[in-house]
Structure formats: C-alpha cells, structure tokens
C-alpha cells in the first residue's frame, strides 16, 4: 500500500474534465436562473447553487490540499448567506415600516418528535463534535446546539445569553490565533499549538452556530 504517491492517481486525473464540466454546467444553470429571476429572495436561494458549482471546481483537484481548500469555500458561503439574508430582512422591515410591533406567529402543533428528539440528537452531536474538533467538529456540534435551542420552548431572547456566546467565541478565536503563532514561533511546542488551534476553532464555530440558534429561537417558537 502506498501512503503518499508521487503523482495524483490516474482515476482522479481522468475524472477531472467531467467534474469541471459538471461544475461549469451547474454554475451556468444557477447563473441563468439568477439572470432571469426577478425576486430578490429567490436570487439568494439560487446563489446557493452557484456555490455548489464552486465546490465542485475545488474538489475536482482531488488532493489533500483541495480538501483543505473546500473548507474555506464552505465557510465563506455559509457566512455570506447569513449576513446577506439578514440584510434582506432588515431592508424589508425598513421598507414596510414594521419593526418591533411585528408579532411572530406562534406554532400550534404538537409533534412527539420535537419533545424527545432534540435533546438526544443534540447530545450525540455535541459529543461527536467535541471528539472531532476543528471546523468539522464545530459545524457538527454547532448544528446540535442550534437544533436544540431552536426546538425548545424559550420565549424571547435574553440578550445576556447572546453577548455571552459572542464573547466566548471571540475569545476562542484569540485562542486559535495564539495556537497559530505558537506553531510558527515555537515549532517545538507544536502539540500545544495544535491543541489550541483545534479547540479554539472548535469552540468558536460551535458558539457561532449556536448564535444562529438563538436568532431562530423566536422565529420557530411554539405557543
């Protein structure tokens, strides 16, 4: 078994052209949709498709480097969708003039799964995410937290929770920066740097994603 070959395997080289063509086609379809679409919200959804085209472009290189480049691409997409959708909402609110007096429509249904599933799934996800660490773990554990806070019954948004989450994630970001510096300034302590980096990124991503959950909480609130 070869651990690391000298050249990229011929299978990957052979798949490159079809993959890129698929990427181009997806991009084209998405862009076509955008150029004929009038509704701003629909355009936002369609940009998701364009992002998928981008991921294919990067993935098709098929090396470890390509894989580690996919992660920034994913994160950028996620981040931009979040920020832009928020701007869209704020714009529409200003346009319609309805700001605070807007009453969220409560949900009246009672699914069994919403009572039991969230805690179970959230615990599994957070545990698994903690084991993974890094971006992957962060995304997974974050999704768990997000899902949890989204489906439990809490009214309103305590702003203290919010600022706490944001603060922790900011500190975790610093932790990660320290880890990065350790790796270059004191290469002999690479293990420390690795741990700081991995768990810094992990905590940061988890709490960031948790904030989405807090945002969503009053959105999908039950009666």
């Amino acid at each position: 078994m070869i651990l690391v070959p000298d050249v990229v395997s011929p299978i990957v080289v052979g798949l490159y052209a079809p993959a890129i063509i698929v990427g181009i086609l997806v991009g084209l379809i998405g862009l076509f949709g955008i150029s004929v679409e009038k509704n701003d919200l629909h355009v936002l959804i369609l940009t998701d498709i364009v992002g998928i085209g981008m991921l294919i472009f990067v993935a098709a290189v098929g090396t470890d480097l390509a894989e580690s480049l996919i992660l920034p691409g994913l994160v950028v997409e996620l981040a931009e969708i979040l920020a832009i959708s928020e701007i869209l909402m704020s714009r529409e609110m200003r346009k319609s003039g309805k700001t605070v007096e807007l009453l969220p429509t409560p949900l009246h249904y009672n699914l069994e799964i919403l009572q039991t599933a969230p805690v179970f799934l959230a615990i599994i996800l957070i545990a698994y995410g903690a084991f993974l660490s890094g971006f992957t773990g962060g995304a997974i554990a974050g999704a768990g937290i997000l899902f949890y806070v989204m489906s439990i019954k809490v009214r309103g948004v305590p702003s203290g929770v919010w600022e706490g989450l944001a603060g922790v994630s900011g500190m975790a970001w610093c932790l990660w920066l320290v880890g990065f510096l350790v790796l270059f300034v004191f290469p002999q302590y690479w293990l420390l740097g690795l741990m700081l980096a991995a768990f810094g990124v992990f905590i940061k991503v988890v709490f960031k994603v948790g904030i989405i959950g807090v945002m969503n909480r009053e959105e999908f609130k039950k009666e």
């Binding site: 429509t105 009246h108 698994y128 999704a143 899902f147």
Partner: protein
C-alpha cells in the same frame, strides 16, 4: 456466472434510491411530500457512504438527515400557518373583510362562489 447480479450491490441500489428520491422531490408538488422524498434521497447518500465503508461519516449523515427533515417540517408548518392567516394579501379585500366583519374563511368561501 450471472454478471447481471453483480451489478446489484449497495452502490447501485443506493444510486437508484437517490435518483428515485430526486425524481420524487422534483415531481411532487406539496412541500410535505417533498420532505418525505428527501428522506429517500438522503437514504441513498447514506447507502453510498456505507458502501464506501466510512461508517463514521454515515453516522453523521444519519444524524443530520432527521435534523434537516425536522427543520423543514417546522418551517413548512409555520409557513402554512402564516398563509392560512392571510388568504389573500391584497389590501382591498382586507378592507372589505373589515367592513363586513367576516372571518377569512367565510370570505374565501364567498370569493370561491
């Protein structure tokens, strides 16, 4: 001996599953039906991951499958709620409704007639 049977393995079955699921999502009109077909599609994906022998990835996928289903379900329920509340968003009708004091349901019946 029977080369045809060799083609039926986990990969091809999952591929079939995924394709059927995709076709279902596209063809069915109602969002709730689409969510069910989405489960089929994701089952296909998980089958493929299992065929590739990455069980931990399959596990993560299996956990996220119900999550996205639930998210979609909640959103669909909520949107249906909202849409039922205002059957016709045009201001004129709201106005009329106000004048006659009729419930939205009664008014929609009226319109239908």
């Amino acid at each position: 001996m029977y080369p045809f049977w060799d083609l039926i393995n986990l990969s091809t079955v999952s591929a079939g599953l995924a394709l059927i699921g995709a076709a279902g999502i596209i063809m069915l009109k109602k969002p709730i039906d689409k969510v069910i077909m989405l489960a089929l599609l994701e089952a296909g994906l998980i089958g493929m991951i299992v065929a590739a022998k990455y069980l931990d990835v399959a596990m993560a996928g299996a956990i996220f499958d119900p999550i996205s289903t639930i998210i979609l379900l909640i959103a669909i329920t909520k949107i249906n709620d909202i849409r039922e509340k205002k059957p016709n968003p045009r201001g004129k009708i709201h106005c009329l409704m106000f004048m006659y004091g009729s419930t939205p349901d009664a008014y929609s019946l009226l319109l239908g007639a």
